[in-house]
Amino acid sequence: MATMIQAIRMALAYGEQHLGVTDVYGEDVGPPLGGVFTGSMGLKTAWNSPLDERGIIGFAIGLAMGGQKPVAEIQFVDYIYNTIDLLKIAGNTTWATAGDWCVPMVVMTPVGSGIRGSIYHSHSFDAMMTHIPGWKIVMPSTPLDAYGLMLAAIKDPNPVMFMKPKALLRVRPPAEDMLIPGEPADEKVLKDMIDAPLGDRSAWKPRWPKLEDYTVEIGKGRIRREGSQLTIVSYGRTLPLCLQAANELAGEGIDAEVIDLRSLWPYDWDMISASVRKTHKVLFVNEDTEVTNFGEHLLRRAIEEFFYELEAAPKLLAGAHLPGIGLADALEMASVPQLASITAAIRELAAEVP
């Protein structure tokens, strides 16, 4: 019963053992800390880098070109914005060389709000990242999906951006999820095996469970709740909130289908299409700022393909278009979708009649 951060760590351990991962690195990624969220604790290839995000991304490109298999971390996505040119290079190298070079690298980075992170530990990155061609982009909302998407990311011969929703890193898996293949069912046993002790950990070594291969194909969404009246498409932090809202609204007779997109690029249009063709109403939810937002892309595509089939205007619920998320509770709550605003948006969409 791993948390998402444990699942990621186990995926990286599996990657080191079986998939040729050579370097898991970034600021405070190696010993003694093993990542500010413990995501790389105890990994044998984990190491600390200089405090230089441009160096981290550039080095990953170089490692990928140099026959290595890197998983590079940007400590918080809030600090990735001086590397956009390098992310673009990682994404255009194959195209610019007409296929000569591939760049098999993974970048992982915590994203989003939910920890009172204030202006610089709350950023979302889905909008800018989906505007950078040549990458694959994933964001899990359950530990099992995190494990399966990380293995898929490592196996992929292209650059893959693995976004870790900060707010969900320590949350337990949903009831319907099976165990990660190989993990012990008892969370205390697992903790004992793979979490470093408090205090001095210089002599500590993890005992990894006998993990197995499990891949979530990049580009495949997941229907987390079936429903007939409207479709909700989300991912990351807002996904469990959408699910909760949908479940609660079932009592009011609102039957919503909830799709966890999981992969932002490529994304599972087949799944969205099938659902919208069934429900004729769609709500896109994410927490990035709402202007030039990836949900606007999905909405545009819905308009392109289903305009005449829709029974209500498709909607986007996203973050306020503001320079930051404020520290105080009330400010964070007012800036990004929460259970209440999601519930209200679903209700409104359900009630809309042409």
């Binding site: 405070d28 200089p50 405090l51 306020a320 404020g326 520290l327």
Partner: protein
């Protein structure tokens, strides 16, 4: 606050006793504030703490030597999240730091938006302190050019050792030393030998960071930032040179990090680093400038003040949700339409 009595005796000091006493007072005030902030964090009166305990012996002299005022005739200060000592010395009120810690609506630095220690005081040319490491080094040369055009003001920029790995540090060196267009800027690195959990000697081939200035013809200094007298004298020497020559200096100050990186690493007092305030107090006592008793009193006064202030802040209002729309643009308040 009652003036402590000055005992004029032999001492290891060359600075005037009045100045030493003033520095001590400000150092205690700063430390007391930081310790109160840590307590607030631990008592759930704030989400996150980061600050500068261990850097007082450098920050207070720096604050004393800045020529305070608004606009390019005066000095600019581009600090970072360990700079509260500089700001208190300039005249900032501790209670305002507590307000930011508690993210109240009354927080004058950010109205409850930013982390503690992320101040901004335009009226004294204190540039906004923001979280991203090192960007201040790309920004500071701009105010230095303003200084150069306006008179004898200068710009000071500070940041940590690990952060010098960012390209912005090099940018600062390049832009400050353009031949014929050198800038009046004091480029400071406060080297505590750590970046969060990462020891600097595992990452930095540049064992003396200040040496990076040499290739640019920038005058460099390495000082003991744990010694307030040395800091005062060296910063003064540097500032005199900068004001006169209109050229940069790169100064590396070796300092301590006394409560770990931040609340994320527990914010507990570490015992294996020099406490510059303790050292200073021992020297002040040995020199007969302040007695244990006197110093104890100063501590008590400040600790009491901080506690009282913290209690006051607890009752101050939190920001209103709709305040998020204010100040997207210069002078703007409220939400005029669908978007600001």
């Amino acid at each position: 606050m009652s003036k402590p009595h000055l005992v004029g005796s032999k001492s290891s000091f060359t600075l005037a006793p009045e100045l030493l006493v003033k520095m001590h007072d400000l150092m205690v005030r700063t430390r007391s504030l930081e310790e109160r902030l840590i307590k607030m964090y631990k008592q759930n009166d704030g989400f996150f703490w980061i600050g500068g305990p261990g850097e007082e012996a450098f920050n207070i002299p720096l604050g004393l030597l800045l020529n305070k005022g608004q606009g390019p005739k005066f000095d600019y200060f581009h600090g970072h999240y360990r700079s509260m000592g500089v700001l208190l010395t300039l005249g900032a009120e501790p209670i305002d730091a507590l307000r930011q810690m508690k993210n109240t609506a009354t927080d004058p630095f950010s109205a409850g938006r930013n982390f503690c220690g992320h101040a901004s005081i335009k009226k004294w040319n204190v540039a906004p302190i923001s979280s991203p490491i090192e960007v201040q080094y790309s920004i500071a040369p701009g105010t230095a050019l303003g200084n150069k055009r306006a008179g004898d003001g200068l710009t000071v920029v500070t940041g940590g050792d690990a952060g010098t790995a960012e390209g912005d540090f090099a940018t600062c060196l390049v832009w400050s030393s353009r031949p014929g267009n050198e800038l009046p800027i004091l480029i400071v690195v406060t080297n505590n030998k750590w970046g969060i959990s990462t020891a600097s000697d595992t990452q930095h081939g540049d064992r003396v960071i200040a040496d990076r200035g040499k290739a640019f013809g920038i005058k460099t200094m390495v000082i003991n930032g744990n010694d307030p007298q040395e800091s005062y004298l060296k910063i003064k020497e540097a500032m005199d040179y900068i004001r006169k020559e209109k050229k940069p200096i790169l100064m590396e100050a070796r300092v301590s990090r006394l409560y770990g990186h931040s609340s994320a690493s527990g914010a507990n007092f570490v015992t294996n680093e020099e406490d510059p305030l303790k050292t200073f107090e021992e020297r002040l006592e040995a020199a007969g400038i302040l007695s244990k008793e006197q110093m104890k009193k100063i501590w008590e006064q400040y600790n009491e003040q901080m506690l009282a202030d913290a209690q006051k802040v607890r009752n101050e209002p939190q920001p209103a949700p709709e305040s998020i729309w204010d100040h997207v643009y210069c002078g703007q308040k409220g939400k005029p339409g669908r978007y600001v």
